[in-house]
């Protein structure tokens, strides 16, 4: 009676691990192909646990896109949780993909999406469990090509030694060309190194770290980074989709069995952002703002709801309030929702009369909360970070919301922003208090229904990121961060309405590590390797994170963590990520850094172009944009 089925793991193992559903595949809309009928087998990995990885929209897009090619079979793999990890090591079972349940090491490509820095040791875990050499230089022709993508590849240097190549930019544009080149290289019997060199030379957006040499100055900063073979580009330009309405988007996304973080249809409505918040990396990386047109959004929404059976849909973008067709789109969705029992889950919208009206239609105002992200406690500091939200906006928005029946408010701030002073920190308690006061002034006692205002203030510690105006800024020590959190707490405690305000803050150790990786260089590969060997894994999970092991790894490698995060960088420093051209220029970022220092805010793309450099992609909101150009960079002549 024992079913012999396609699973890689025997029942005894599956029944002894937590959530075996993570490892069985077979989800609705997963793709099974005949492996003998394809030229390329691509294993796509999100290096974290299944529930996190399955919630990621980028994987859904590329999974669908790759599988739309008849000659490619793309499968998925996630980090096994620590229980299965141990079993796989003990029993020497190679890590497998979910679809075919076959060992990852037999694939042509192993692709990682790098969404946050704290997943780096999990990349090593996946390589290790797959039986693939951790360092790219140790791999042989038969090993898969290990390719990285995602936001962290805008500074791939800390993990450069572990990857054969990186794809810099939006995945929709060049993978077909990359696959074609791979197939033809294989046919002509080229070696691994020859294939990689051909990719670096011929495919825009491809970066092969082994083809570049880095030299350092005595002070530890970079002297220069240059290709070590001819015809490899000095700068790698980010790939950009020109027309979002005319690019692949999945009509039948995967539907996991387990309840994952995002158990709903995700509809991407635009990419990029018009607002130049100076701390925000995404705001610069995905410029210019490109909207998907209304009809394309509607069509996509219906298709996905039908093919998945999901009961909820959410909109995806960096700042949905800036989508020009938002009222029409939401009307349409709420109308459809009303008929088909679909919940519309709203992204964080700017709080105003419009958004409150929409929210009141789809949420229970008594239970849901309003979200404001002032990010800084004073107008002075909000100008410095170029966050265009004023105290007046917040108090006015809160007042309208209280009149509409809401009583829960969430506030998000950052601590340790450049040029932050004690007054800025005190401002956090002050604004929370004022919101509570607005509630008591607006809602008379009889109208409160036994409830009162509940304010939750959360702070995260600011981490400077590459390609932002704050890429030159110093970060703070853990102790300094915790002092700031303490000051915030005292500031809140001193308020009249302090009983109505709750305060929580992030773990400082993790922010410090994130800060080191974010602006790190190639030498960190050794540290990551050492830390992994010493048992670091799942660093994004607080209970699995061991700061002490990391500090020991630095020591063992003879590197000083302070160099990476505590220094303010001089304006002329060469950064590890300078070889990447994201469109936005370093001069523009420097100008913004100086403006910040001077306490001056900047405009946004809709009011006036700032000349950031992204206009050269010729699309989106930029002056002179022309969407009629094909998606992606023209393929360079071979």
């Amino acid at each position: 009676m024992f079913a012999s089925d396609r699973l890689a793991l025997p029942d005894e193992i599956l029944l002894s691990v937590e959530k075996p559903e993570r490892y069985i595949g077979g989800e609705v809309n997963s793709v099974i192909k005949d492996k003998t009928a394809v030229d390329i087998r691509f294993a796509f990995c999100f290096p974290d646990v299944y529930e996190i990885g399955m919630s990621h929209i980028g994987i859904q897009i590329l999974y669908g896109l790759f599988n739309s090619y008849p000659d490619v079979w793309c499968e998925r793999v996630y980090s096994p949780w620590t229980d299965l990890d141990q079993i796989l090591r003990d029993k020497k079972i190679p890590l497998f993909t979910l679809e075919s349940q076959e060992p990852v090491r037999n694939f042509d490509f192993l692709g990682f999406t790098l969404q946050y820095e704290m997943c780096y040791t999990n990349v090593l875990q996946v390589l290790d469990l797959s039986g693939i050499p951790l360092y790219a230089r140790d791999r042989k022709d038969a090993d898969p090509l290990v390719i990285g993508g995602g936001p962290c590849t805008y500074n791939p240097e800390p993990v450069a030694d572990f990857f054969d190549l990186f794809y810099i930019g939006e995945g929709e544009t060049q993978y077909r060309a990359l696959f074609d080149l791979y197939i033809s290289c294989k046919k002509s019997g080229l070696s691994r190194d020859e294939i990689l060199a051909a990719m670096a030379r011929q495919i825009p957006g491809i970066y092969v770290p082994s083809l570049y040499d880095v030299t350092y100055r005595e002070d530890g900063t970079i002297e220069e980074m240059r290709p070590n073979v001819p015809e490899v580009p000095e700068a790698v330009t980010r790939e950009v989709v020109r027309d979002l309405s005319d690019v692949y988007y999945p009509s039948a996304p995967l539907v996991p069995f387990i309840k994952v973080t995002q158990d709903r249809v995700a509809l991407e409505i635009m990419r990029g952002c018009i607002r130049g918040c100076r701390f925000c990396q995404a705001g610069q990386l995905y410029k210019p703002l490109r909207e998907k047109d209304l009809e394309a959004c509607k069509k996509s929404a219906l298709e996905m709801l039908r093919s998945t059976g999901h009961e909820e849909i959410s909109l995806c973008s960096l700042s949905s309030s800036d989508y020009s067709q938002l009222p029409v789109l939401l009307d349409y969705l709420i109308d459809t929702a009303g008929r088909e029992h679909v919940n519309v889950s709203l992204p964080s919208l700017r709080i105003d009369a419009f958004s409150l009206d929409v929210m009141s239609k789809v949420q229970d105002v008594k239970k849901s909360s309003l979200t404001f992200a002032p990010e800084a406690g004073s107008q002075r500091l909000r100008d410095i970070i170029n966050k265009g939200l004023t105290e007046e906006d917040i108090l006015h928005g809160a007042e309208q919301a209280f009149l509409g029946g809401w009583h829960k408010v969430k506030l998000y701030f950052m601590l340790g922003l450049p040029f932050e002073t004690a007054e800025d920190i005190e401002g956090i308690g002050d604004i929370a208090n004022k919101i509570a006061a607005v509630y008591f002034d607006t809602v008379p006692k009889e109208a409160r229904g036994g409830q009162s205002v509940e304010i939750t203030a959360s702070t995260s510690f600011f981490v400077p990121k590459p390609f932002t105006p704050f890429q030159w800024a110093a970060m703070h020590t853990k102790e300094d961060f915790l002092d700031r959190a303490q000051m915030t707490k005292q500031g809140i405690m001193a308020q009249l309405n302090q009983k109505r305000i709750r305060y929580s803050w992030h773990n400082a150790d993790e922010s410090v590590m994130e800060g080191i990786f974010a602006r790190g260089d190639r030498r960190l590969s050794g540290v990551i390797h050492k830390a992994y060997r010493d048992g670091c894994m799942y660093d994004a999970w607080s209970e699995q994170f061991h700061f002490d092991r990391w500090m020991k790894a630095f020591e063992a490698c003879g590197l000083n963590p302070a160099f990476y995060y505590l220094r303010e960088r001089p304006e002329d420093e060469v950064f590890p990520w300078d070889f990447i051209d994201i469109g936005v220029t370093k001069q523009f970022l420097l100008r913004e850094w100086r403006e910040a220092r001077a306490g001056r805010k900047s405009s946004n793309c809709r009011i006036s172009c700032l000349g950031c450099g992204a206009a050269r992609f010729g699309t989106g909101i930029c002056p002179g944009a022309d969407k009629s150009q094909p998606n992606g960079t023209e393929r360079t002549a071979v």
Partner: protein
């Protein structure tokens, strides 16, 4: 005019999907109903949900040919049509097998169940010194099988013999058995094997036992067991 129509659906759960837990099967069925565009009846409120309930949760790892789900539709459909519409959108391993329209105000499946049929086998028969089939036959032929059962009120001792409604043991120790089930005196398959191995001085772990559920039964008369959807003649 009826405002809604309650149906009882029988489905199977085989293959890798046996690792999908009970609550996730419910979520799976909700999504399948939507993909099949069945006119489901929804609860009120800001997050409406389909009105449906599973008869008896199946342990993770067990397969089944006899799962039941009661669900409420707003329109009358032919039971065959419900089955075929669902099977068009079902995925590997879950298959709609049968369906019937329930009478108005009929009691829910979970309240009428009296017994569940299983086929079971131990995975590692090598733990036995003798033939596992013989040992199992001897065990089930006892006059009484006393086991400790933990209930909400604490631990009680129960005799399993009156709760076993028939069994056969195959050559390789494969057991087919009908166990009492439902809200009172429910016997979990693992409980029986725990007692069996215990009687031989062996320790039981859930992963040792392969479980396949054959069907769920109700009792129109004392001592009579018919499947929740009677076999069509």
């Amino acid at each position: 005019m009826r405002e809604f129509f309650d149906y009882r659906l029988k489905f199977s759960k085989n293959g890798p999907i046996r690792y999908v837990g009970h609550l996730d099967v419910v979520r799976y069925m909700q999504k399948a109903n939507r993909r099949a565009e069945l006119p489901m009846s929804y609860s009120e409120g800001f997050s409406p949900h389909q009105i449906l309930s599973v008869a008896l949760p199946l342990p993770v790892g067990a397969t089944s040919d006899g799962e039941y789900l009661d669900m409420r539709l707003t329109q009358e459909l032919a039971p065959d049509e419900i089955v075929s519409r669902l099977n068009k959108v079902m995925h590997e391993g879950i298959e709609a097998r049968d369906c019937m329209l329930l009478a108005e105000h009929a009691p829910k499946a979970m309240t009428v169940i009296t017994a569940a049929g299983y086929r079971m086998q131990l995975r590692n028969a090598d733990i036995f010194r003798e033939d596992p089939g013989c040992a199992l036959k001897d065990f089930l032929s006892r006059k009484e099988i006393l086991v400790k059962k933990s209930t909400k009120k604490g631990e009680t001792t129960v005799d399993l013999i009156p709760l076993i409604h028939g069994w056969t043991v195959g050559e390789d120790g494969e057991l087919e058995i009908i166990l009492h089930a439902g809200s009172r005196d429910h016997v979990k398959p693992a409980l029986l094997y725990e007692a069996f191995l215990g009687s031989l001085g062996l320790a039981f772990q859930p992963q040792m036992l392969a479980v396949h559920r054959l069907d769920l039964y109700e009792s129109p008369a004392e001592g009579k067991f018919v499947p929740l959807i009677p076999k069509s003649v």
